[in-house]
Symmetry: D2
Subunit: 358 residues, 4 copies
Amino acid sequence: MGNSYGKRLRITTFGESHGKAIGVIVDGCPAGLALDENFIQSELDRRKPGQSKITTQRKEKDEMQILSGVFEGRTTGTPIQILIWNQDAKSKDYSHIAEKFRPSHADYTYHQKFGIRDYRGGGRSSARETAARVAAGAIAKQLLASENIEIYAYVSQVGDIRLEKSYNELDLSKIEDNIVRCPDAEMAERMIDLIDGVRKDRDTIGGIVTGVIKGVPPGLGEPVFDRLHAELAKAMMSINAVKGFEYGSGFEGVKMRGSEHNDLMVTENDQFRTKTNFSGGIQGGISNGEDIYFNVAFKPVATIMKDQESVDEKGESTIVSGKGRHDPCVVPRAVPIVEAMAALVIADFYLLNKTSKL
Amino acid sequence: MGNSYGKRLRITTFGESHGKAIGVIVDGCPAGLALDENFIQSELDRRKPGQSKITTQRKEKDEMQILSGVFEGRTTGTPIQILIWNQDAKSKDYSHIAEKFRPSHADYTYHQKFGIRDYRGGGRSSARETAARVAAGAIAKQLLASENIEIYAYVSQVGDIRLEKSYNELDLSKIEDNIVRCPDAEMAERMIDLIDGVRKDRDTIGGIVTGVIKGVPPGLGEPVFDRLHAELAKAMMSINAVKGFEYGSGFEGVKMRGSEHNDLMVTENDQFRTKTNFSGGIQGGISNGEDIYFNVAFKPVATIMKDQESVDEKGESTIVSGKGRHDPCVVPRAVPIVEAMAALVIADFYLLNKTSKL
Amino acid sequence: MGNSYGKRLRITTFGESHGKAIGVIVDGCPAGLALDENFIQSELDRRKPGQSKITTQRKEKDEMQILSGVFEGRTTGTPIQILIWNQDAKSKDYSHIAEKFRPSHADYTYHQKFGIRDYRGGGRSSARETAARVAAGAIAKQLLASENIEIYAYVSQVGDIRLEKSYNELDLSKIEDNIVRCPDAEMAERMIDLIDGVRKDRDTIGGIVTGVIKGVPPGLGEPVFDRLHAELAKAMMSINAVKGFEYGSGFEGVKMRGSEHNDLMVTENDQFRTKTNFSGGIQGGISNGEDIYFNVAFKPVATIMKDQESVDEKGESTIVSGKGRHDPCVVPRAVPIVEAMAALVIADFYLLNKTSKL
Amino acid sequence: MGNSYGKRLRITTFGESHGKAIGVIVDGCPAGLALDENFIQSELDRRKPGQSKITTQRKEKDEMQILSGVFEGRTTGTPIQILIWNQDAKSKDYSHIAEKFRPSHADYTYHQKFGIRDYRGGGRSSARETAARVAAGAIAKQLLASENIEIYAYVSQVGDIRLEKSYNELDLSKIEDNIVRCPDAEMAERMIDLIDGVRKDRDTIGGIVTGVIKGVPPGLGEPVFDRLHAELAKAMMSINAVKGFEYGSGFEGVKMRGSEHNDLMVTENDQFRTKTNFSGGIQGGISNGEDIYFNVAFKPVATIMKDQESVDEKGESTIVSGKGRHDPCVVPRAVPIVEAMAALVIADFYLLNKTSKL
């Protein structure tokens, strides 16, 4: 279970890393949306492996095809199935770990839960599954674009190199200008150098992706459990390798006093606004019309190119050697995934909110 | 919508701060559980207002009664309804904010979403709703206790006073030894002093609650979306005033390298174990049998005893004055709420996991 | 589990026949609906026992109170909890069947499923639970009334006395004119006589309730699984003692040929209409704007005032004697229950359909 | 929405009649089930068109492939995606009805609901979608087979030719012995003749499929809303062209008295049994261990080979002519669909029931 996300706009993903294909069904997309298939493919291209020297050198084209739910270029209100065939699988790379548990991977836990696992490339636990999310998110983005809601994400930290500038001090149009997807060119260079060094060490490093959502109307979110930020948290924490989530003032906010932290309200051009935005655009679990911003912490990926002590299925000591082609740092490729999940969360609440009042 | 939580063990809460009553329906609790009603009440007592000088002086007895689902002391598998009547409402305290939006409260967002709101004491957006969760959580705790799963939470930070010791360097049996619920007596004193000072300043301050879950068997969690930590995140972020969540190595983990961060596996007394636990007891979204630990960041509560600039429903400038009786810092009373939500998450996954394999 | 119904407008009921109370939480009702509490009570009065000589002589006032979700007479978009205290329980009436399984009751199946049951008056399996549905349905009816959607139900068969007239040959304003709730006065007399005779025989008899929904706009229903008539079927079949459901041409329709059965389309006053309505207002699982009509078959209730062979929990032969006060025929009191469930189904689809297209 | 079915074992179907492909994701199937792919294909072959002179002459091979969720012949607990490519589409057949509404089809209602529809071959509203259900049902059947639960369905009525024998007077092993799937050879001949005559008249006729489930353990079903028969009703009513559902004594039962209808309990070989089975194996919404049996009424399919009056999208009168290749009677091909949906319902409840009691 657990392979669906969303209430009114609901996605269900399927597929293992080295199975025949991966994909997604999107149910609940309103009819009549003109869908740009090229945009969906371009989003997948942002996530696909082999983009630059700081990502895995594995090559997958990740070409998607839409099998249903679209007629003459528009959504029909019926389920949209998107399929991505797997290629370049090289399953032989994985026979050496068929009966071993790789440290900090999902090998042991899947084995315990299901008693069987497709060990090839991580099987279902592989981040390859997120390609299906990116495809679905590209539909949600198009739905939101028609409402002038914009979704951004960028790398704000790699290891201990941290971009201190806030999102509103940055030019978000420059995110795609460099391979690490940090809109500050100078910091981007330093991040790239760090990742490149880590790669040469045959090691990996963590990082933070910051998300920003602009143009969200007030009213989105469904308290008390389905608070807007609670769903954002779940959606982000469901991405592979994520260890933390914060929005608005976040963990730093705990040090503040209420008198500093409260966002005073004013009227500006006949619109309710807040002077500051420590609330991160969400109050009481419902959007207030200000920008929503949040951070997502990614651990260093577990697959390293070094030998590590571990155990096998029988509980005997063994060595897991680093093989294959992997990302030294996931955050550059995580940017479109964070955006996709954010788009799915907002689109879902957008639709749900249509019936909040008479 | 959004007032239910859980898939197999599902709670639905109702009630406004100054309405007639609040409560919860728990659906899906297995039949045959011997239920200790006194324990449920004692958990509510841990959350109730007026406990000490550092909590609100408001008095509510929060006496619960079970209306259904229990017969001769045991659960029957039918829905358990728990009711808590409201008392000591003093609704007149709130007439002054009937048409004003309090800064960083949910007043404006509920107004936008629903076009109407019960403004008395925050109505549905009040943290009073969490009493219902604590009652439901006390049932989940009893279910988990029969499986030797233990849930702990404690205050690990208030403002900038931070307990640097890790949970496994502390004596968790001492959490209830002081009014701030920090198991380190010396740090507790400093936290209490800080809160007391803030209170005298008519201000508020934030803090962090750390949660620990011991005895969880391997296999809990339902990837890819309903990862164990993703549901924990959602559950915690759905608590009033929460701004951030992290588990295992969390935000600090982003600075580490994979070779440091990976938890090497060993066999100990015929059991699979990890040498370190940066994974926080969860790998690939599924529990691995190690301790689960996490941090929950609470902002300084918005209600302060000072005048603040704001606007009213017509968009005109106004002053919101601080009245009523409120908590200077929510974390001491948040401890049982964090525990309750953790218990509900684990119990839900525990039941779901019963059918993961043949 | 299984105590909730609905997707966008979702009810959860609780309570046992002889527990402290029964009730319902309604989540998802749009804010701003002016709620007439007297109407809710009057619907409960239509269902309550002791109304006439052909219903049980048990007395219950079934007075409801609203505990949340309504402020100054209007819904607030937050969960509405309705509570009905139990009275006149006479639990002693039931001690004689504490360890016996009454034939064709839920005694044995609850015992098998849960290993424990509140045997008093049927516990959770009692039709008393439907009072909670009637209260929730009265909210749905008020929501639909604002859209000019009308819900009717009436008794069309008792035993083998069958009203041959179709719903559109009857004056539906006369349903409440007699105690059996059949709008044809002459047939009503015959039905009443039959029920009265059965009652004197200390026996019970089955019957059929016909439902009619007028004013439903085209577009309601969510294929492929949540077809409008599939949800109606589930909702009706979830009422105690129901054995069958059919809509439109129903079981009789199987004998027809397509050329007879097809509803030819015409335009009338610029509106699409069908010349006939064998489709029962639903095509492909979606309403087409014509009247929706359906039949619900109720078995003779299992509780009879005669001795019956059975077994006890140990599997030993025993006699179950008829005691207590029960309905000789449930259909008169089932009329408001059928209406309530119909209203809940239609209201749910009405809200869901708001986002079917851009 | 509405394209998913099931709680613990959940299927989501996609695809239009003349789109690229149809298929299904099955989420929640326990890991470790040895899956016979040939059986899945053989079930699809039972449903596919072109089987005999009384079914449509359209040819579709309906070859399925499994894209995920199965590893080395066993289920892995991850989502199982089954894909069936569309062939032999002949979309040109449908251009003549692109802007016309066929009587008693879903053309008008989809147009109203979504504002756009894939008119080719009925698009999403086509019964072709049920192939996906049959594939999913074949997985559920294999799961149930390991618990010795058996599912049967057969044709018990075509037009007014009705098999009066009850299911337990028939040899259910003979269902597949003839093309109409009626286990009584003589009645089967008469049914086939009737259908053949109707076909020559370029018309269609309705019928009834009877379902039988044997070996269900006591305890399945989740009252009060998710009663076993309520879910069966929904599942059956969600199949194209279904107008009615009854189980056990059904509509005939309304004429009976409680003293006749009650199923007296006895002990047989240390097992609780009932002397009669008017309850149809379900009491209070929960299985009691006896055979479950039910009837499903199918209307005559709307597509006939005759000219019919109708209207077009502009509301103007038009003639819809009968073209294409269609079934004169759906019930023979509906048999495996009824079985599939029954298997999915029972498997879902089987898994849910694993946690009903401690």
